[in-house]
Each structure stands twice: as structure tokens, then as C-alpha cells.
Amino acid sequence: MSIIEFHGVTKRFGSLVVLDEVDLNIEQGEVVVLIGPSGSGKSTLLRCINGLEIISGGDLMVDELSVNTGKTTLMNIRKEAGMVFQQFNLFPQMTALENVAFGPRRSRGVSKAQAQEEAMALLVKVGLGDKANHTPGELSGGQQQRVAIARALAVKPKVMLFDEPTSALDPELKQEVLSVMNQLAEEGMTMVVVTHEMTFAQQVGTRLIYMEHGRISVDGNPRDVIANPPSDRLKDFLVHVN
């Protein structure tokens, strides 16, 4: 069984078809990089995995659970699929430590002391052990995004979903986030990443998917695909992102 399975997944917003019968299997340990022009459906595809978007047709299995089987299953899926957002979305009233400890406490029912201990370890891991008591407003964008990664990891997911994690960051801050992601990939975390960072795709990705008009148009090894784009449109796209 693959960790994520799309079976003819369709997503419509009104009459607009955003995902058009997508079939896709993602295996444990893969680092899948999703690219494509805006409106191609890559973010929607990602958000369907943890049910932030409800699919309109087909079936989608995450860790052998179907997103179609109700709220409780959806909550269980979300515990296995952590998400990192473009705009970080840290809880502004909580410190970095409280942000990270929040998920395990409220979603996994871990004790406060244990949640805080693990949260501290995660903050150290993303290089922010000294910022534990700072609130998001006191952190730079790169630091906020690293806290957000730690917050998602704290729930101990099997998959991490990244929705343009560096798009809202200044160029000099992107690197600190990408290196944390790089480290995660090395530890064998299954990752699905929507990004325009082609260097990351090439160096860290194990699979590159190019989406167009709600469909997967190219799916292959990042190095091969980038070196020899199999379609002219992908070639054009790669010229524009670089």
C-alpha cells in the first residue's frame, strides 16, 4: 500500500474543474516536488490530502484511510499528514514553544510537561532553541516558518505537506527553511512539496510532478525532467521560474 493514493480525484469549485480525475501514488520516503503554473491545481491537490479541500469525486487514501469517510477519519488523517503553510499561520497569542506543544496536547492528548519537552527538542532541531519564549511577532519570517515546521512535526505525522513554504520569504531567509526541509528529507520523512525552488527540487526531491490544467502532465526523476523536459510547455515553465 502506498502512503497516499489518488484514485480519479476530481475537485471542482463551482463549475471550475481544479483537479481533473487525478491518479497518483506516493510511497513512503518519497520527496515529491509539485510544480506548475498558478491555477494548475498543485496547491489544491496538496490541500485535498489533509482534507482542507473536500474532493468532489473519486477517492483519496492517506495511510489507508479514505478522506471520504467522515470527520473523525479526517481528523485522524490530519494527525498523519502535517502541513506547513505559505503564510506560516502561527498562533499569535502563543510563544514558539506553546505553538509547537499545542498539537500534541490538544490533538494527541499528550500531557503538558511531555508536550513541552518534545516541543523544546523540536525547536532545538530547527535551530530555534533560544527563541522558545518568543511570540511569532518577535520572529523573522524564516524563524516563523521553522517554528511552523516544528509545530507540524510535533504531532508525529507520517507525511509532511508543504504549501509554498518559502514563497513569502525574503531570498536570504529562504535558505534556513530549505535546509531544515533538506534535513527532514535525509531522515526519510515522506514529503509533498509545492514550490518554485528548482534547486531544492533537483537536490532533495526524489520525484518531480508538473501539473497543468488540473492534471499531472509530467511525472519523473527531478534531474532527468529538468535536464530534458519532455514537453515544450514544461521547458517554457522552467525557463520562467529560474
Partner: protein, 218 residues
Amino acid sequence: MEIDWSIIVGFIPELINGAKVTVIITLSGLIGGMILGTIAGLMRAYGNKLLNSIAFIYIEIIRGTPIVVQVMFLYFALPVLADVRIDPFAAAVLAIVLNAGAYIAEIVRGAFLSINKGLSEAGLALGLPYWKVLVYIVGPVAFRRLIPPLGNQFIVSLKDTSLFIVIGVGELTRTGQEIMAANFRAVEIWTAVAVFYLIMTGFLTLTLRLIENRMRIL
């Protein structure tokens, strides 16, 4: 008649008693209004069609009619319609509960809906049920945004109690009216009454300022 401020001194105990009634009506009315307003506001923001409609109709009825009419209805019309006896004090408190509740509902709804959707998505993505997202994430952030408009409503409600003179509740304005009827010292008495209101609203403003300073608006 010559203006003689010293006559006020003799009436201070009476005015204080009136002010006490004003404070008690306002406080109990606002406590009820906060509960009712929070429930109605959340029904508007997150309720299904039925709950939303109920809250909407309630808010529209209250906002669309003057508070004097509301309290007259409670005191004079309600006993006729339903077989209940209601004393002026209870009618006054109930009027503030219902009236402030409607305005607070809109304040609560606005504050909750103003919270960036990304925050609740981040909470949901951690595997939390929606009610926990509201209680632990959206609620605390929304609460901070409630404080300034809520303070405004508290002051409005406090002053609205003066209208209950129409059903004969012995609050501050009524007390002033009674003293005035006996000695016709309009300038002195109404000045004193106004100062009493200013002290009460000033105290509210200061308290709210303190709370705002303690809690950063996020």
C-alpha cells in the same frame, strides 16, 4: 432663582443610591448581554441555517426598535400577552440583556470572522475538531479584538439605563428627576447627575484602557 451649588451636598446620598441602582442594572444586564450576545454572535458566525436565522431575527428586531419601546413592551405588554408579572427593576435588567445582547452579538460575529482563515486551517491541519479550534485558537485572538468595541457598548448600555425613567425604576436619572420636582433646582441637580454619569463612564473607560494595555491586540 440664584444658582447655589451647595444645595447638592444634601442630595448626594440620594444620588449615590440612584447611581447604585444604575450600576446594578448595568452590571447584571451586561453580564446577561455578554452571554446572550456571545451565543447569538457565534450562531450568526458558525451556526447552520436555522440557528443563523434565529439569531439574525433576534438581532434585527432589537436593533430595529428603540430601547424605550423594548422596555415598555417588557413592562406593560408582556404581562398582558403572557400571564407574568414583572417588576420595573427586572424589566430594566431584561431590557439591557436583550438590547446589549443584540449589539454584542454583532461585535462577537465581526471579531471572530475577522480572524485570518489561515489560523483555523492551521489548527484543523493538526487534527483538531472545529470546536477546539474555536476555543483554543480563534477565540483567544478574537477576544482581544472584542475589547475596544465592547467597551463602547458597555458605555452605551450604562447610559441607556437612564431611559428606564419611563417605567419608574429608581436609577440615577429618575432620582435626579424626583429631587428636581421637589425644589426646581434644575441647573444644580442635572449638573450633579451628569457628573455622576461621567464618573461611572470614566471608570469604565479607564478599566478598559487597562485591559487593553495588558493584552496586546493581535
